[in-house]
């Protein structure tokens, strides 16, 4: 395998890591939606720690290796329209993802705190946080942006 092929393989693996994290978060949000007890919510949100690592690897990997690929290749330039579109989509998805994280990290911190305080009973504030329409909308926006990013990467419009 040539150096370019290694870069491409690692770039694609990073993209898979990013999408895999989104799938994991989606499952956690869906399963937690109907949970009432803080201990149940806390348990489910433990899964997101791995998602955080996968997002970090995916976000950094796709960006750094993607730019490296564009520099290494004679066929693409970093200022090509489709690459700029991809960079914009990447940046937007990172921002919506960061805001999503703010909403759900509060759930991840609050649920075990309630358990530690001995208040493992249905908690209206925690339930509202878990079923936050803002959090859900931000997560959906992140999914749509990443999907658009994958479409741009495959179709390479204008290339």
């Amino acid at each position: 395998m040539a150096f370019y092929d290694w870069l491409l393989a690692l770039h694609v693996l990073a993209a898979f890591s990013l999408v895999a994290a989104l799938v994991l978060y989606t499952v956690v949000i869906a399963v937690s939606w109907k949970l009432a007890l803080p201990s149940d919510v806390s348990r489910m949100f433990r899964l997101t720690r791995v998602g955080d690592v996968a997002v970090a690897v995916g976000a950094v990997g796709t960006l750094v290796l993607g730019i490296w690929l564009a520099i290494d290749s004679d066929d693409y330039q970093v200022w090509d329209g489709w690459i700029i579109a991809a960079l914009v989509l990447w940046a937007l998805s990172m921002e919506t993802g960061r805001r999503t994280g703010t909403v759900y990290n509060a759930v991840r911190d609050r649920a075990p705190a309630l358990v530690a305080e001995g208040r493992d009973t249905p908690h209206p504030e925690l339930n509202a946080m878990v079923r936050s329409s803002t959090g859900l909308a931000l997560h959906a926006a992140t999914v749509v942006l990443i999907l658009a990013l994958v479409v741009v990467m495959i179709y390479k419009p204008g290339a």
Partner: protein
């Protein structure tokens, strides 16, 4: 240099998109299941073990299983669109892709059955260790590793 990606005809893009999205969702479903399985592996509290077992089963059945079909149908579609059936000696990366897709599918199917039975037994027994779930954990982990290798092979195209 990945010449194929550079000069790919436009009518290959949609089948490739279906294949890639299916594969990414599959890896995400398997990652979610593996994380839940390992979190549930050593849990002393029965509620924890049962909840993680159910999450594993749902992630495999409702995410990984449909995603496998999307990935596999997309694979066959792009395989025919690219005209590989007319080529006598297929490249290594294609062989790796086929073997991992089909063998991984078998592992996935067995894992779903074992995870479902294991989760049911665990709930009935009050959370004692389930051998079926542990076998399922090993199989799902193997499938995940195989698919990561497949992603590397399909993207880097060794040979």
């Amino acid at each position: 240099m990945n010449v194929l990606a550079v000069i790919r005809p436009d009518d290959w893009n949609f089948p490739l998109l279906v294949h890639v999205l299916g594969a990414a969702l599959l890896v995400g479903g398997l990652l979610t299941a593996v994380v839940a399985q390992f979190l549930g592996w050593r849990r002393q509290r029965s509620a924890d073990a049962v909840a993680y077992a159910r999450t594993t089963f749902r992630a495999l059945l409702f995410v990984a299983f449909p995603a496998w079909w999307i990935m596999r149908i997309g694979a066959e579609w792009i395989y025919r669109r690219e005209g590989w059936e007319d080529v006598e000696s297929e490249p290594d990366w294609l062989g790796i892709g086929y073997i991992t897709a089909d063998l991984g599918g078998l592992l996935l199917l067995v894992s779903i059955i074992l995870a479902g039975l294991g989760a049911r037994r665990l709930a009935r027994s009050g959370g004692e260790t389930s051998t079926l779930l542990r076998i399922s954990t090993v199989l799902v982990t193997l499938a995940l590793v195989a698919y990561v290798v497949a992603v590397w092979a399909m993207a880097g195209k060794p040979g």
